[in-house]
Amino acid sequence: MKFHGYERSDGSVGVRNILLVMAVADCSEPVARMIAEGIDGAFAITQHYGCIPGQMVANTLIGVGENPNVAAVLLVGMGCEGMPAPALGKMIKRSGKPVGWISIQELGGTHNAVSKGKQILKEMSEKVVRSKRKEFDASKLIVGVKCGGSDTTSGLAGNPAVGAFVDMLVDAGGSAIMSEPVEAIGAEGPLANRARNEDVRKKIYTMIGNEEKRWSVPGAQMEFMCKGNVEGGLTTIEEKSLGAIHKSGSRTIVDVLENSDRLLEKVPEGGGFYLQDGTHMEPMTMSFMAAAGAQMVIFVTGCGGTFGHAIVPFIKVTGNPETYRRMPQDMDINAGTIITGEESVDSVGHRIFEEVIKVASGKATLGETLGYDNFSVFRTDPRLEALLNLSK
């Protein structure tokens, strides 16, 4: 299978040509939004952990800036941050793409910063508009898989169909990545059995074990399953996890990608299926996957979901025929045909692969058509990590 994408100078291939305006902290976000407004292909993003957010957040923002879907980056800083725009900008620039940065304080406030920012962005835009899509093999694709708003159709239809697609992509030389360690609790055995070697097997148990400790602090009532999960028929975290991991397919787990203050590991070249340490919360997981190099994400839902991501196109698959009927403007793929007996799991897997190729070549997902541009980042709480002895 072939798709048409944008070649980047570091050898990666983008499926979108985004002009990214990155406010390094949320105090600069309004200015970043004003800069992006009205410029084609421009998105403004930020993070909400303050201006000394820690290395994990910096790793994510750098990785997102380096993501192949991003054609050029303009960083917007107030000027007094502990994580300054020039520092992040210089790291992102190593990828070879156009990167600029401005300081709102240095430029003398909002009006000057917006007009300077727009000027830089328009110059970047002229370069970006000239780039054309070229043909690439599907082996250049890195696709994230994620589920949310799960009901039992997710384990019966949606996730198995995405798992079939993941196997097809990996067999074609491409890469796939799954995170959400909390939704692997109770499913360690089937995952560990697919580990490439003993080292990877240990990493799988460590990642899931650490996540279980974070969610099992005595006295803290933590919601790790939503009410919709239970109303949809899921009884325990084990049941949810065993259904959730179906979307990872059946191929060898090549490695568990580290994601900590120390390091955010990228998906290496060469294809295969990877786990990524991280979180199960949807837009945040997608930011981690984007930072690891994923160009798009497949989202499986039972109950339905109306969101997307600023950096990675987001293909929504539902295994619930009733959800597909009720939310046709939001669900890209109907895997409910497996429940009704009209289609096999493999047949839906093929349809997902075909849709991935189309979206990789420029077809807008329903979420993109609706303008969804969620972006949020996650960091582990350094205090909890220290108290539980999980710090790396």
Binding site: G186, G233, T235, E238, L242
Partner: protein, 103 residues
């Protein structure tokens, strides 16, 4: 006839493929879609929820996908509705904030 599906031959529960009323004779299908047996539901079971396809004693494992999804917190009879009221996780309990509403 109404249907419920086993995900693995080791399972002791099956998932309702449509809403099942109380006392509905239901075809329990193996993963191959072949008929295993017919079971009469003891309670109403909504689409996507589980019914017991053999009796499960209190403390015994509840198995779906061929793996343990929890243990029975009370005796479960053939055809019973199997959910949060009679199964407990061995790993993490759900927050009581909304869990109680479900029981």
């Amino acid at each position: 006839m109404k249907k419920a599906l086993m995900m693995n031959e080791k399972d002791n529960v099956a998932t309702a493929l449509e809403d099942l009323d109380k006392r509905t004779i239901t075809s329990v299908l193996l993963p191959s879609q072949d008929l295993l047996k017919e079971v009469t539901t003891m309670q109403a079971i909504p689409f996507g929820h589980k019914l017991a396809i053999i009796g499960i004693k209190k403390g015994d494992k509840v198995i779906k996908y061929g793996e343990v999804i929890g243990n029975a917190s009370q005796d479960i009879e053939l055809g019973d509705y199997v959910h949060v009221h009679n199964v407990k996780s061995n790993r993490m309990q759900m927050p009581e904030i909304w869990y109680r509403e479900e029981a």
